[in-house]
């Protein structure tokens, strides 16, 4: 029922490079072909929106940030000198999200309790499509855990939240995350471990929703 992915490697041994189809699209966009650039938009808009949504926590703000990010990317396309276009694009999205958070006045380290108590009426909790093989009870339990997990992610400070999303949700490597965020790798590892620990402790507030392996056992 749950999709399982192997954890992303800590550091990629081979420098990432833009796939050939992306390179062709970039070249066409640089020639003025808007359709070519929209090929890139279609390819990476889901990733961009997913990151923006979990960063900004509202649909409208995330949509605005993503649209603005693609426009910025189109304008700055000539400055893309190589590497992984996805990471380059995501950096624009992250910066746009940070700008939005600053403008909102919430680019501060918020306590996990404050986030948990906030009534997010605009928020949308992503739900997987109904699995026809699961019973309604299982569906409800899965949605409850998913919702609880989303709340836990939202409760993290923005920096830790971003690292957690990029690494554990979207599978970026440490160095890619460092490039996207513009921080040293050691900072990325530290933030990631704190984010995971905080999220685990947050989830433990509802142990009945958790898998058996995550529930606290007798600790010496």
């Amino acid at each position: 029922m749950w999709s399982q992915r192997k954890p992303a490697p800590a550091a990629s041994s081979v420098p990432p490079s833009t796939p050939p189809d992306d390179q062709a699209a970039i070249a066409g966009a640089l020639r003025g072909d808007l359709n070519a650039f929209n090929d890139l938009v279609v390819k990476y808009q889901r990733l961009a929106y997913s990151v923006a949504y979990r960063m900004l926590q509202t649909e409208d703000a995330a949509a605005d940030a993503v649209q603005e990010s693609f426009i910025k990317a189109y304008r700055a396309l000539a400055s893309f000198k190589g590497g992984l276009f996805k990471s380059w694009l995501l950096r624009i999205v992250v910066n746009t999200c940070y700008d939005a958070l600053r403008a909102r006045g919430r680019y501060v380290t918020e306590g996990i309790e404050d986030e948990a108590n906030r009534d997010d009426e605009e928020g949308y909790v992503a739900h997987a499509l109904i699995d026809p093989g699961e019973s309604p009870q299982e569906y409800v339990e899965r949605m409850e855990l998913s919702d609880w997990l989303e709340l836990g992610i939202r409760a993290l400070p923005p920096d830790q939240r971003l690292v957690l999303l990029l690494c554990d949700v979207h599978g970026y490597a440490y160095d890619e995350i460092a490039e996207i965020m513009g921080d040293p790798m050691g900072t990325v590892k530290s933030r990631l471990s704190r984010a995971r620990t905080k999220l685990r402790d947050y989830l433990l507030q509802q142990p009945e929703l958790l898998p058996a392996g995550l529930r606290p056992k007798h600790r010496q």
Binding site: V169, S193, R200, Q220
Partner: protein
Amino acid sequence: MNFSDDRLISDELLSAYLDNAVTPQERQLVEAAAAQSADVAWRLESLRQTVQLLHALPEVPLPRSFALRVEQVQELPAAGTTPPTATLVPAPRASVHSVPQPSGWQRFLAGWHAFWDAGNLTLRNAAAVSLALFLVLLIGGAVTNVGGMTPTGTMATAPMSAPAAEPEIVALAAPPSAERAAPAVGPAAADGEAAPLSPPGADETPGDATAYVAPEQDAAMARMALPDIGAPAPVGPMAAPDVPGLLMAPGGLGMGGGAEMGGGGLGGDRAGGAPGGGDSSLLPPEAYMTSPDEAVIIEPSPSPGEAAPQAAARMADAAADEITMQESVPADAVEAAEPSPDVAKRDDSVVEGAPSTPAAVALVPPAATHQPTDAAYPAVQVEPGEPSAPGLPLLAIAQAGGALLTVLFASLWWRSRSRRTTG
């Protein structure tokens, strides 16, 4: 493992271990610590489970397509940036890539279809058909029962005599002041709790209303301004002493006239002592009086100008009430016909099925200022509707069968969904 060793195993180290971002020495340290310390092992496993939950996090659906339009890129100031060397080629809108994004309603429908399309469709359809059959039988049975209960009798033939009743009503409404001041509470009221009550707008002097009425009665009683306590009055001209099986609300429908009890109601199955005061000959038969322990409110006579319509309305109500219980007239029709909403507050067994004003008024014969006789009160035969006796058992059996089939097919379909999951 001792405490000092555990402190070497930080959460950051465990997190890096999960991502294979540790040196070989660190890996050995972590693995040894996890093997020797349950705490370290739990911390490692809990972090691993947390990461796995994040891997399985559902994707956030796109609200719309973010493909750029020409107008979006043409209006952008290109300060500090290197614009594309070639001129923009506006692409036709049809060729712009757009991902149709499902709306919330479409997502719901998609999930809805996915849920119902699982399992054995034949069983699902059979369950749906049996459920529909069951509902049809259920509704048909209900309609049959409602239509089967129709009143019969001579009610409709009674003349509309509300205007004609006015003289009598006026007569009833002219109380001698002395009699009015008399404590019109009979033994019943005397036995009961005495709490003077006066209807709204009643022209009363303190102490005129002397009887305590049970809460379920007071609304009804309040409308029945007894014209005179002890004055000769036809008690319940609508009373049908001979009507069997009439069911009355507690406290009855105190009709006016000398019945200090508010007419004592026409409770056919309630025996009440005659209320004190007034000419006993004016009182309805004992069987139709309220019981001694039931007090009724006694209102002072209304003003002459108000007496006629009020009395007519009350008498119409009483007539409606007595021709009731075993009929199946919808309650809402009763309420609509009632001149006062208070009628609805009475016992449902009384109110239900009581056609009110037009027919009830029609039943009001010319009031007689004497003891009612059979001639004055046309016998009202209220016959319960003929139930569809022969069809009921079959209908019930069919309904039960439909319900069972629905449950059976639904259960089998649900099992088929589960099997396809595990199989």
